[in-house]
Symmetry: C2
Amino acid sequence: MTMRRAPGFGGRGGTAAVPFLVFCACLWPGATACSRHPAPVPAAYAEAAERMRDIGLREEGAFALLGRITGVGPRLTGSPGAAAAVDLAVKMMNELGFENVHAEPVTVTRWVRGGKEEAEILGASPAEAIPLHVCALGGSEGTPETGLTARVVEVRSFEDLARLGPDARGKIVFFNRPMDRTRTDPFAAYGQAADQRVKGAVEAARHGAVAALVRSLTFRVDDFPHTGLMTYEDAVARIPAAAVSTADADRLSALLAGGGPVRLRLKMSCRTVGQVPSANVVGEIVGTDRPQDIILVGGHLDSWDLAVGAHDDGAGCAVSLEALRLMRAAGVRPKRTVRAVLFMDEEFGGTGGRSYAAASAREGERHLVVMESDRGGFVPVAIAAGAPDGPVLRRLRTWSVLFEPLGVRTFVPGGGGVDVGPLVRNGSVPVAVIPDAQAYFDVHHSALDVLRSVHPRELELQAVCLAILAYVLAEEGV
Amino acid sequence: MTMRRAPGFGGRGGTAAVPFLVFCACLWPGATACSRHPAPVPAAYAEAAERMRDIGLREEGAFALLGRITGVGPRLTGSPGAAAAVDLAVKMMNELGFENVHAEPVTVTRWVRGGKEEAEILGASPAEAIPLHVCALGGSEGTPETGLTARVVEVRSFEDLARLGPDARGKIVFFNRPMDRTRTDPFAAYGQAADQRVKGAVEAARHGAVAALVRSLTFRVDDFPHTGLMTYEDAVARIPAAAVSTADADRLSALLAGGGPVRLRLKMSCRTVGQVPSANVVGEIVGTDRPQDIILVGGHLDSWDLAVGAHDDGAGCAVSLEALRLMRAAGVRPKRTVRAVLFMDEEFGGTGGRSYAAASAREGERHLVVMESDRGGFVPVAIAAGAPDGPVLRRLRTWSVLFEPLGVRTFVPGGGGVDVGPLVRNGSVPVAVIPDAQAYFDVHHSALDVLRSVHPRELELQAVCLAILAYVLAEEGV
């Protein structure tokens, strides 16, 4: 576009604020009544929100915080990188002026990838072998040191696999059901394909297979394998499991469609080391009136090992830290305590979340609201809060004017996550800022999840949204 | 995030569709009444929308179309690239099976950049000169062949400049007011800073300056200058005008803050060649019942010359073509005509839009609705339509269920643009799909506006939204 047009939605003159205001006055009814005149929001809330928005967008502090976190490198649960991240997070919270900063011990499982994985489709001669881009799934056993070689059989589902029956015996089962591109919610598409990754090895082993190879969970067709957690069951053989890039999955599938036997060699030296000490990191702004009532914001400090986990979940950590930083910078100290928790081990077992909830219960703390940010550092588009007709969701709708300048006008039931799940089960209300995530699975769990895949301004808008949410909930309670 | 969580907003179980449905049933009242039970949408509309959505997301045709358009290269108005784009667009529309495909002649101004611009801050010796990243603004005169050298004076506004008065004489006026980062709408921030680019040279020349240097219009601080149209006035000296990258603008400003004289050498060989023939490209799906009534979708085929104009506005062209392709692929032929128009010369004078409107008026055509897409190829977040209480906006709100699966739940007054402006002034109703545009000005009018800056799935969601909009409007009229 050129500049002859006036700014704002569609350029019909004036400033952009005008259509927004017209809109918000007529489209956003109060919580319980369907009214064209929503209840006014306290002026103090509006002023604090504006201050935090102005400071946040001027300084883009969330991206700077994210740069420090990703600067540690990959932060795989139990790894030296994760330990360094714990130390850094304590240091950052102290520098930011948070109160009661400490690391809370957690015992986690350490798994190591070992050397770079190798996979190739065998040809008539070694020169004709076709290398594949693969990576071990998290938690997988390795192959024998010399690798394993077997015929490949392709399936799209566990039902396909059951139909194969004894034909899977001695083979590498190739799970190749793509994420459904026609699902507009990428998380829904992910959820419908991830069974292959999580349980593919167990199901393949039940049928006598020697390994599982799983199509990477992304809409993109490229050369990057995407890892992620897989699990074993006690009574079932522990066979190796790897992810293959989508481009190579398509190539392998095309070869198999030719009908002839396709043999694949796979070599992985990953292994589970055992239990090691680690920690969640906690810091807060103590509430003035009801310090025992906690509004929690958090993300997970651990990442996968193929990259620095910028979106997953450096972003969630960064926006949580930034939310408290913005409150302090804007000079607001709410009635209730706002606590930032950077959880350990979201990706590899959720021990951080469980351990935190258990300790919290022992100490008699009251977590009124828990806000986990773990959907990428993208622009915020909605707020999710508790049950469909819950009081928190209804209350947040009455405050919609605080979020409209951020482009957030949608309020839905929801919230929660792996780390705060145990607290929600104990009665805390889940709330979350929901970002647009169409590009999330492009990078998720792969070597592409790097700092430059995060947009500073989009991340900051998410942080500002979280700060305003935490602030008003800490003022009002639930 | 890992996979223990169920999919959907915040992972509270079930499929993602559930909270969406709960939400849309209670939050989106009908157009005129405030009701929890909106009027049902005709089943045929819902089915057509779902078919177009499924085809679009499965095939991502908009990105393929965009790849063909950007494959031509830069398409500066009047250039050989623009001429090649006209030929290609006619070919593409014919291949896609559009009807009445033709190019409509337009006479445009051709301006050429000439050789790469040079700019440097002079030092005590040639070795100490500091090169700057600059580019001529569109329409600017060049400098003398050997360049021009003058002292630099910095201002932030035309008021600053007026206060300088005679101190600007013989100098290069450096306009350095940044886009306001605290504006959440990037177009609003752009609109408040673009006067420097459009009129900086005229205002500087009024005060006797020899050139204008303008801070690039982007939130980013980097080394890429952003061009764009500038204008002259008849009675005012035509001095050269260039954009300087934001990083270099900051550096130059820091040097000037030192207080000593800063001299700059600028060399540009750009010039206006004159009037040349070009064309808009038009194709359509003829309506079954009221073919004389037109629903227009369009973007502009011309781009700036520093890159291939992927977002600005290859994306608008691609989604317009894709909208008609989706209708055909889904087997829907609406009552009224849906016409795609790829306009020439949006960036350099808007002659394409004016010429189209004049020809259309001569032929007695009725453009009921005009939808210009020129805000980047990002994920759609809102629909803008006409006046605040206009019938089209009210009607679209009653159809909100068609757009919710795309993540579009916001309806605001607005729409319009440079190309359809003349039609709107003649009574057509402007409608537009509004994408999230936080990253738009990162690339806008710069060498960064390349194909890989567009996300295929985000672009397709925008195209599907446009297709559904065009289809229902072509069925219902206004």
